[in-house]
Symmetry: C2
Subunit: 223 residues, 2 copies
C-alpha cells in the first residue's frame, strides 16, 4: 500500500492490519514541499504498529528527480501552496501530474516481485473534485490496467474510495486499535507545524469538528 | 515517446518524425544489463535526426534504484539472460515487472507538464506472447487509465502494436528518410557487441533475413 503519513493512508493501514493483513508500505519521496514532514509521520506510524507487533514492512522510493520535470505547486519546484477550502478551484494548482498512476505502477512492480496480490490506496471522496487520479473511474481503469500488466496477478483495493474524511475518522477511531492520528501529518506546507489554512488542513479540521473531537496534532496558529 | 535505442522504438521515432510530429523522447535508465549500450544507441539516433533538423527532444529518467527492488533476469540484479528464440518460455525470465506501466505513467506526467497530447510506445506483436505489458488488452486499458488520470488530456498511441519485426523493418526502410538501423541496439546482454544468441538478437536477425537484407550492426560471432 501507499503510506504517505497522512490521515487517510494511516486509516487504511490501521484498517488492513486490524483485518489481519501483512502490509508492505510504500513511501514515496517525490519532491513535494511537505515530503520531509510526511516521512517523519510515516516513520512514527510504522514504529507505532511495530510496537504492537503488527506485520508491517517499509519500501522507500526516491522519485524527486523524476517529479522535478513536472509542473505542480505541491512540488518544491512549483509556486506557493494555495490557502482556502480543499474543493476550491485554486487547489487545482496542487495536482501533481501522474502521481497516483506512477506510485501505483511502482507498487504493482514491487507486488509482483515480492509475491503480494493486492495493492491498496487511501484515495477517498474528498479528493474526487480536484484530483482526477483519485476518482472512481480512474481507479476502476487502473485496476484493469494493473491486472493486464501483471498477467492477472495483482488487484487494486481502495476501501475508502467512497468515504469522506469524516467517515474515515469514524472508521479509524472505531478500530480495535484506533489509528494514532496524533502521529499523522496532513498539511501541504514546507514547515514543521501544520498551517491550519491550506486546503488539506481545512478539510482535516472540518472532519474532526464533524465527529466532535479535537484534532490531536498541534497547529501553527495555536502558538 | 519511449526511446530505448532498439529497432522498434527507432522505427516509431522515424515514423512520427516523417509524419511531421515534434517528438519528446523519454529514455529510461532502469538498471537493465544492456542499458548503457541502449543509451549510446539512443544518443546516436537523436544525433542522426538532429543532423537532419527534425524537432526531437530528450528527457532522461534514472530509475535503477526503483527497479533494483524488482525481480528480473534482464536487470543487473537478476540472473543470466537466456539464449534461444524470443517466444520461448525461458524468455519469461526477462519480463520486468511493471516496466511499460511505470514508463508510460512517467511519460503521461511529463506530457501533461509540457503540454503534449499523445504518448507513443514501440510495442509490437512479437512481444505479445511473453510480455503482458505489451499486449493489446493492456494497451487499451492503459489508454483508458491515462485518459482518466490526466482528465482527458493525454492519449496513448502504439502504431506498431499489431506488426511483427519484419513488417517494422519494411516500414522503417520505406520512410522518406529510412531509419538508421546501423545505429540501433537490440541485444539484451551486457557487452559491447551484440551476442546474436539471446531471444532479442535472434528475432532481429530473423526479421532482417525475412526482408532479404544484411543486418548493418556487427555481431560478436562474426569476429
Amino acid at each position: 500500500m501507499g503510506l504517505s503519513g497522512g490521515m487517510d493512508s494511516a486509516t487504511l493501514l490501521g484498517f488492513m492490519l486490524n483485518e489481519g493483513a501483512e502490509v508492505h508500505c510504500c513511501h514515496f519521496q517525490y519532491g513535494s514541499k511537505h515530503n520531509e514532514y510526511e516521512k517523519m509521520a510515516m516513520l512514527g506510524l510504522l514504529a507505532f504498529y511495530r510496537y504492537y507487533q503488527f506485520p508491517v514492512y517499509l519500501h522507500e522510493f526516491h522519485l524527486a528527480e523524476v517529479f522535478s520535470k513536472f509542473n505542480s505547486n505541491l512540488l518544491q519546484s512549483g509556486g506557493p501552496i494555495p490557502e482556502g477550502h480543499y474543493k476550491e478551484e485554486s487547489m487545482k494548482l496542487t495536482v501533481v501530474p501522474g502521481r497516483n498512476l506512477i506510485f501505483s505502477s511502482i507498487m504493482a512492480g514491487l507486488a509482483e516481485s515480492i509475491g503480494a496480490t493486492v495493492i491498496a490506496l487511501g484515495v477517498h471522496s474528498g479528493d474526487h473534485a480536484i484530483y482526477p487520479d483519485c476518482r472512481p473511474e480512474f481507479i476502476r481503469s487502473l485496476n484493469n490496467t494493473i491486472f493486464h500488466s501483471t498477467d492477472g496477478k495483482i488487484m487494486v483495493n481502495t476501501p475508502l474510495l467512497y468515504e469522506d474524511k469524516t467517515t474515515i475518522l469514524k472508521i479509524g477511531y472505531n478500530l480495535k486499535l484506533p489509528v494514532p492520528y496524533h502521529l499523522t501529518r496532513t498539511c501541504y506546507k514546507d514547515q514543521e507545524l501544520s498551517c491550519g489554512k491550506c486546503g488539506s488542513c481545512v478539510e482535516r479540521l472540518e472532519a474532526f469538528e464533524n465527529i466532535g473531537k479535537q484534532d490531536p496534532i498541534e497547529y501553527e496558529n495555536e502558538r
